[in-house]
Symmetry: C2
Subunit: 252 residues, 2 copies
Amino acid sequence: MKERQEAIKRYIERKGDVTLSELSNAFSDWSEMTIRRDLEFLEQRRFLIRTKRGARIMPTSYEVSVGMYGEREKRNCDLKQEIATKAASLVETDISMFLDAGSTAMMFARELPDRNLIVITSAPNIGIEIVLKKTNPTVILLGGTLARKTISISGLNVLDQLKTLNIDTAFMCASGYTDATGFSVGGQHECVLKRAVIASARRVIMMMDSSKLNSILPFTFARLSDVDTFITDSKAPESIKAAFRAAGIEVI
Amino acid sequence: MKERQEAIKRYIERKGDVTLSELSNAFSDWSEMTIRRDLEFLEQRRFLIRTKRGARIMPTSYEVSVGMYGEREKRNCDLKQEIATKAASLVETDISMFLDAGSTAMMFARELPDRNLIVITSAPNIGIEIVLKKTNPTVILLGGTLARKTISISGLNVLDQLKTLNIDTAFMCASGYTDATGFSVGGQHECVLKRAVIASARRVIMMMDSSKLNSILPFTFARLSDVDTFITDSKAPESIKAAFRAAGIEVI
DNA sequence: AGATGATTTGAGATTATTTCACAAATCTGC
DNA sequence: GCAGATTTGTGAAATAATCTCAAATCATCT
């Protein structure tokens, strides 16, 4: 990236939102056309978004919540949405629930009914989303080291924190499932946390879109017997749904 | 808000970012002009931002970080920026620092050098900002209940968590200061946390823009003697700076 | 240093988008 | 069912974004 582009980026980061004429005034050594091209360049790299007559800084958490894993995530957005809507209908008032990290969980958070309940989560972006968009739920964030890739908390004492909290229903996400390996994820820390949550929750609800079925990730955190309810989308093959039902799991 | 506007809002919330033609296709009962007006309406209410040929959902944490307390905050943006830049120059590599919640702290987080250091914070939005924009710092988030107004953590065991963490330098924000009352804030929970941090930090750096000098808030969390370094903007009156210096505080 | 090729830049023309003004349609309260 | 207020749609005017291409700049090699 060029020096000018860095400078424009910094300028916009400070101002928050600028017009093109303001920019071309501030950077009068270059033409409007050049600045326009730089904005396009910076937009492609997700540093900002261009608005009608200028640009605005790319707000941080949006990317995390919706586009974090790139286009693949966006493509399955409809599936996740379907799952999120179904899951939201299972939320009871006045309970304490755990909400996992992940983009499905974020969509679920958006669909969460605005009622009295306690949401415990390891994903600060999801906690913020809830606290800003809803007025009634209480959000409890676990503390610890914030992982860059997953925007979720892990650390030596998350397990201790969980011990002091009672979880009624746990809404969990998985990145992979096969009959042989069970539900798996890519990170070891996540795996440990998920296991602890599942062990302490009265009811475990697993949310997973059909694109993740039949894939294996390094760390298994749950078996079929750990799960009470399974929520997936309409594209999931009937065979898997039937197998889950046969294992005594409610499939929605 | 009308039903159509709610529907448009929901549609955009799900899609993330849409074009006007896409919207006018989805809401074909109304003309493009009407939808355009609805977008304008929704933009004013901060639900979305309009882009070149459409609109995009208003990303959650952006509001918190920049416009949270409304226009008043934006007006002092330059002052806070000045403070943030000064504060960033004081950051040492390979130390453990505490970073307070608040909009000045958020701007500081943006200016934070991308080096090896440990940032402990009670503000999840600030933690996310750092983790997404920088590659080197390690972020440790305190756990507990997430407060709606301040987007900061409080709770019974934050003090216990602090006991397990060693803080070298604490970068603190205050909402008010007078000679008689010391540094004060509006919330009781914040106050308790700030006190604990100040008690355990080797060096306390107070950041405060001049607009907050000579105002009093309910809870005092620090006196002059607790502070090692005071960072303010160029509009701060010399008399106060001189008084601070007389008290043995480094004023920047 | 000078030639060569690649990249970057700026001005104007072109195209697309947004705004504006006003008339038609719809809604509201009586 | 009527009068006033609000909302909506249409097309013209204004505004902004994109495209094209030639000039300028930069980098590389001899």
